[in-house]
């Protein structure tokens, strides 16, 4: 949403006011820049420095800066499986959330255009789950998917699950949880683009004897690309670093841990801050590279 916000800004400022306006704009930017320096740059530097520390020989739980870059090699060697799994789960969750949200957003934004009341009602329904803490909602799913719960007993009765199979504590439950939790963040940006979709273009496509599929592929889909890009980014980035769904307190288990859980364990339980910091930086860097590549490929540089 934030990415598309610039698209429709008015171009009405008079050129005579530009100089003074520029200075005011700069003045207005100061709090933002200060905020970034204090709450983004400083912690980032601190994190990089922590990631290069090694444990003190003498004092328990203390780490000294020794430019120990081997920390990075060590965490990659030890946790490569969890790192790859995080990105796999995040991609799966993003794809599922997109497949689920696109028809929904299309329905709300295009099909229901003539009934604005229904439209806003449906939108409220999409946003409504966000009024409850996602921790509580995830815990509720844990109950629903538990071994003696309705879902598992039904699937077992239908022989779709073996007698010793279960859902919570598996990768399926984690991907499900991620998908579920990020659907609103996928749906809203899609809605904002589809809501502005010019139906006359679609009509023109039909007039030119395009099949519904061709119309979708060559007209609707390209026009909704900004929504898809911002939706997938809003889903993929937090999903890759998520540690709640995959935590054994919620839907995950020992075979479905993600990088977020590894960082949490290193930071809070093992007190191995350098490893935790190195993993955080790796996660951040990988996401940056992947996202940069993705945005470039999808041809929407003007959004950023």
């Amino acid at each position: 949403m934030a990415l598309t916000a610039f698209a429709g800004s008015p171009a009405a400022t008079g050129s005579s006011g530009v100089r003074r306006g520029g200075r005011i704009a700069l003045l207005l930017l100061i709090p933002g820049i200060a905020y970034l320096l204090l709450f983004f740059l400083a912690p980032l530097i601190s994190l990089v420095m922590t990631s290069l520390q090694s444990p003190s020989e003498t004092v328990f739980g203390q780490y000294d800066f020794t430019f120990n870059w081997a920390n990075y090699l060590q965490v990659v060697g030890q946790y490569s499986e969890q790192i790859l799994r995080s990105f796999l789960y995040a991609v799966l969750a993003t794809v599922f959330a997109l497949l689920f949200s696109y028809p929904l957003a299309y329905f709300i934004g295009v099909t229901m255009r003539r009934w604005p009341l229904v439209q806003s009602l449906l939108l409220i329904l999409v946003v409504a789950p966000l009024f409850i803490s996602f921790l509580l909602r995830t815990l509720a799913w844990k109950q629903i998917l538990s071994d003696e719960g309705f879902v598992v007993t039904t699937l077992k009765a239908l022989s779709l699950l073996g007698p010793q199979d279960h859902i919570t504590g598996t990768g399926i439950a984690v991907v499900f949880g991620l998908t579920y939790n990020f659907i609103p963040f996928m749906c809203l940006p899609l809605y904002t683009t589809l809501e502005r979709l010019d139906l006359r273009v679609v009509e023109a496509s039909r007039d030119l004897y395009a099949t519904p599929f061709t119309t979708f592929r060559t007209v609707i889909l390209p026009l909704s690309m900004p929504g898809i890009v911002s939706g997938t980014l809003l889903t993929f980035i937090p999903a890759a670093g998520d540690y709640v769904n995959a935590s054994s307190q919620f839907l995950g288990g020992t075979s479905s841990t993600m990088i977020g859980n590894v960082i949490q364990s290193n930071f809070l339980v093992q007190l191995n801050y350098p490893a935790a910091a190195a993993l955080s930086i790796l996660l951040m860097a990988t996401i940056l590279v992947l996202v940069g590549f993705y945005v470039r490929r999808s041809g929407t540089e003007d959004l950023l």
């Binding site: 530009v18 520029g22 200075r23 400083a42 420095m49 003696e148």
Partner: protein, 408 residues
């Protein structure tokens, strides 16, 4: 001519032009350097971690003017009535005139330590004036100088402390810490699904229980039970890396085969309740509390025949708390036998207070013979205290234990 076309929006255009005019001049470089230096200085502060040489000094006591107290503790660990009030704590507040905030803030020794250690190192108030933590963590905190020395003159009832807990190796004479409750880690099972109960750790690895077994995230309890099952005396100092590695191997195997479903702190209660786990390694008193909440004897508890672990949680006053005298009043209150009995009757852990057994006869006579609260010699013979680990062992063992849980 600009190489790239500027956006049409006039505001943004102006900004870009301004940014261009700003390009690197001597002054701006200096300004930028100043900012980065400040950021670095800030970062350096936050990574120092307090240092090991200088121990923080205790905060000045303001108990005379400040009539409040915050107590951080674990869940299911104090008597509670149906409305969610704590009867003994209410009695203490009425009697002492203090306002006590009871905060269920501890789920795991390690995570709690990670949360408060930076403030402790700086000698700051951690938002709790008295905290209950397990022996080995208290030992670490005392070693680091993060605990205030108690004034025994303010705790006359400390004379009721049971002799066996008066001189632990980490705190001879109880100068810094006072036991709150002791307990066992043992086996719990769902009585409906496992009517025959459990008697040994080996029975947890029964193929019929595949994926339905839970263990504790407290390394000493889970590994303690597994090592006892291998015939190792966990309280003696003759075992080391080799024995621990052998037990880790069993643990690893049961986790990767999917036999063990979950590794958790106090939240294992949820899994037992929704039947994700049918058998688990748990803490003794919790099971009685959960049964009480459910209103039926759904879960059984026993120490395995090879033995369980015995631990104590202890009151301690963090170095930065300015309300130590208030905390001492609270400790003294809970060392009255009748109060200790009242708490024990609810939490079902072993009370360290002598005379509580006699007091229990008046409150709930049926609990006097309860082995979880007043264990006899026979029960205690099956309970073992995990030996003190060196810092290096602690780091290594904890890392091994964690990597099994992470599947790494």
């Amino acid at each position: 001519m600009s190489p790239r076309e500027l956006p049409t929006d006039a505001g943004i255009r102006a900004l870009i032009a301004q940014a261009g005019a700003w390009r690197v001049g001597r002054r701006t470089v200096l300004q930028g350097a100043g900012v980065s230096a400040a950021a670095l200085a800030l970062a350096a502060c936050s990574t120092g971690g307090g240092g090991g040489a200088a121990k923080p000094s205790a905060a000045a006591d303001k108990s005379d003017s400040d009539k409040t107290l915050t107590w951080a503790n674990w869940s299911f660990y104090i008597d509670e009535d149906d409305e969610g009030n704590y009867p003994t704590l209410q009695a203490f507040q009425e009697e002492s005139g203090l306002t006590v905030t009871y905060d269920v803030a501890v789920d795991d020794n390690n995570t709690y330590y990670a949360k408060v250690k930076d403030q402790l190192a700086l000698g700051q108030d951690i938002g709790a004036d008295v905290v209950c933590l397990t022996d080995w963590m208290i030992s670490r905190l005392i070693g680091q100088g993060y605990v205030q020395k108690l004034d025994h003159a303010n705790i006359p009832n400390l004379s009721n402390l049971t002799p066996s807990l008066q001189n632990p190796d980490f705190d001879e004479g109880r100068e810094y810490s006072v036991p709150w409750q002791s307990g066992f880690a043992g086996l719990a099972w769902n009585k409906e699904k496992l009517p025959n109960g459990l008697t040994s750790v080996e029975e947890l690895w029964d193929p019929a229980l595949k994926g339905r077994v839970g263990v504790l995230s407290e390394m000493r309890d889970t590994m303690g039970l597994l090592m006892l099952a291998q015939g190792i005396d966990i309280s003696s100092s003759d075992w080391g890396d080799e024995e621990f590695a052998a037990a880790i191997e069993v643990f690893q195997q049961q986790v990767s085969s999917g036999q063990i479903r979950n590794i958790k702190g106090n939240s294992y209660a949820d899994d037992l309740k929704n039947e994700d786990t049918l058998a688990a390694i748990v803490w003794s008193g919790d099971i009685t509390t959960i049964n009480g909440e459910l209103g039926e004897e759904k879960f059984g508890f026993a120490l395995p025949d090879t033995g369980g672990t015995l631990w104590s949680d202890n009151f301690m006053v963090p170095i930065g708390s300015p309300r130590k005298t208030n905390a001492e009043k609270l400790i003294d209150f809970y060392y009255r036998p009748e109060i200790a009995a009242e708490v024990a009757a609810y939490v079902n852990y072993i009370t360290p207070v002598e005379g509580a057994k006699e007091a229990m006869a008046d409150i709930a006579p049926e609990l006097v013979e309860n082995q979880l609260i007043f264990p006899n010699e026979e029960t205690l013979a099956k309970a073992h205290i995990f030996r003190t680990l060196t810092n290096a062992e602690q780091t290594r063992y904890q890392a091994d234990f964690e990597s099994v849980g992470l599947g790494a």
